[in-house]
Amino acid sequence: MDFLVRIEESGFSQWVREADSLLAFPGILLLHTIGMGLVVGINAVFALRVLGFAPSLRLRALEKFFPVMWTGFWINAITGTILLAVNATKLTHNPDFYIKLVFIALAVINIFLLKKRVFIPEGVPPSSMAKILAVTSLIFWLGAITSGRLLAYVGRSSGVF
């Protein structure tokens, strides 16, 4: 508890929270939004392609866009950690925050499971297991976005974001 307060009251956290600069809180939250667009956007295109949308797009080609997705993921891991540090005590007391983390963990595990079943020799259509994983991937990201957005409305962190 004391540890969380110390992080929250550190000079950096105070700057992010209170500085009258667009690079502080607004900029970090903006990067978090753009990172979300990269991760979920590429992931959604990939999952929908597995489900049969845009059938002439070769699945293997979409693997070339995975670095964009992982860039978004690391942007959000870093900005997310900063946003947590700034409001450590409120967020760690908000059950919704843990729901969001669980959804993200499930979504990331899901990407690896789906990749293994889809990037197989050409010409083999995605298995039904792959399609189920594509659906769960969309559900997990939808869950992460929803619980993330609701952090501003429910529990002790409401009014922060």
Partner: protein, 309 residues
């Protein structure tokens, strides 16, 4: 020059600009000229895009005038609600026109059906837009005598105000729309990135450009989701979305629509196979990514650089 000033410039696009499109489209159907028909679709799509800026700038005009003693606020509110209905039909017309352009080179029964849909929605849009324009003109032009012809009941909430009350009465509506606005953002950005990064060369040995066209409806779905949820915010609390910064976001969306039109009409997505794209195509691809990122930036920065919340 402020958005209220822009409203005066832009308010002829949804009426007169759209009417030109309608005349061309009907002439094309009667004379069976396919190029003319395509031109009609392009005008409808552009008119729908520009109408976004017309609609939102009207809000600035009302904010500036609502305290004026010689201006009737109930009349402005009636104009707002008439414009809202016309706006909805305009966007539907624009959407089906876009679908018509998207399936242009693939003749199908649906394509013919779609032309009928475009015509039906365009005809209704024109009537509704003319009505909205008539009411708008009545606000500042007593010489026409049209203000007296418009029945107004100031005690009854207008359509736009009832919409606003709906979002206030049900506290879940706003966060739900925000969440969907994020979902739409992800879909749009995902498609924008895959299509344009491919045009810039990513995955060019594996991904023929011709297949990219299949992704566009997904991006359109994302955009549509954000247009609907964005309008939920805008119509409910119009006073939050005045000023140049929000207007700039809407202008960027129109530029994004123009960019898409250039890519689709330039046959970029049809003739180019593997290999590097031309300099014009790469320019369009790079600007598309910049435009949509800038749209996200403007939306996100509204509380800090605009005047929301």
């Amino acid at each position: 020059m402020n958005p209220a000033h822009m409203h005066l410039l832009l308010n002829h696009v949804p009426t007169i600009g759209f009417a030109i499109g309608l005349v061309i489209f009907v002439a094309a159907l009667l004379l069976k000229r396919s190029h003319l028909r395509r031109a009609g679709l392009v005008i409808f799509f552009l008119a729908a895009a520009i109408t976004i800026t017309t609609y939102v700038s009207g809000n600035d005009a009302r904010e500036a005038l609502k305290e004026s003693p010689d201006i009737s606020d109930p009349l402005m509110q009636a104009h707002e609600s008439a414009a809202l209905v016309a706006f909805a039909f305009m966007q539907i017309t624009g959407f089906f026109s876009w679908v018509g352009l998207w399936i242009w080179n693939r003749p199908s029964r649906f394509g013919r059906w779609n032309m009928g849909l475009v015509f039906a929605f365009a005809a209704v849009t024109f009537v509704l837009m003319a009505r909205a324009g008539y009411m708008g003109g009545a606000i500042r032009h007593p010489e026409t005598g049209s203000a007296e012809t418009i029945p107004i009941d100031p005690s009854a909430p207008t359509l736009a105000r009832s919409w606003g009350m709906f979002t206030q009465d049900y506290s879940w509506v706003w966060p739900a729309c925000e969440t969907l606005h994020f979902v739409g953002l992800c879909l749009l950005l995902g498609v924008v990135l895959v299509v344009n990064l491919r045009l810039l060369g990513v995955g060019k040995t594996l991904l023929p450009v011709a297949t990219l066209s299949q992704l566009l409806p997904l991006g359109m779905l994302g955009f549509g989701l954000n247009m609907v949820t964005g309008m939920m915010f805008f119509v409910a609390t119009p006073e939050q979305y005045t000023g140049s910064f929000f207007f700039f976001k809407m202008v960027l969306i129109v530029v994004g629509a123009l960019n898409l039109l250039c890519v689709m009409l330039g046959k970029t997505l049809e003739i180019m196979e593997d290999g590097p794209a031309g300099i014009w195509t790469r320019f369009l691809a790079a600007t598309s990514i910049v435009i949509w990122m800038a749209v996200v930036f403007c939306g996100h920065m509204l509380p800090w650089l605009g005047n929301s919340f």
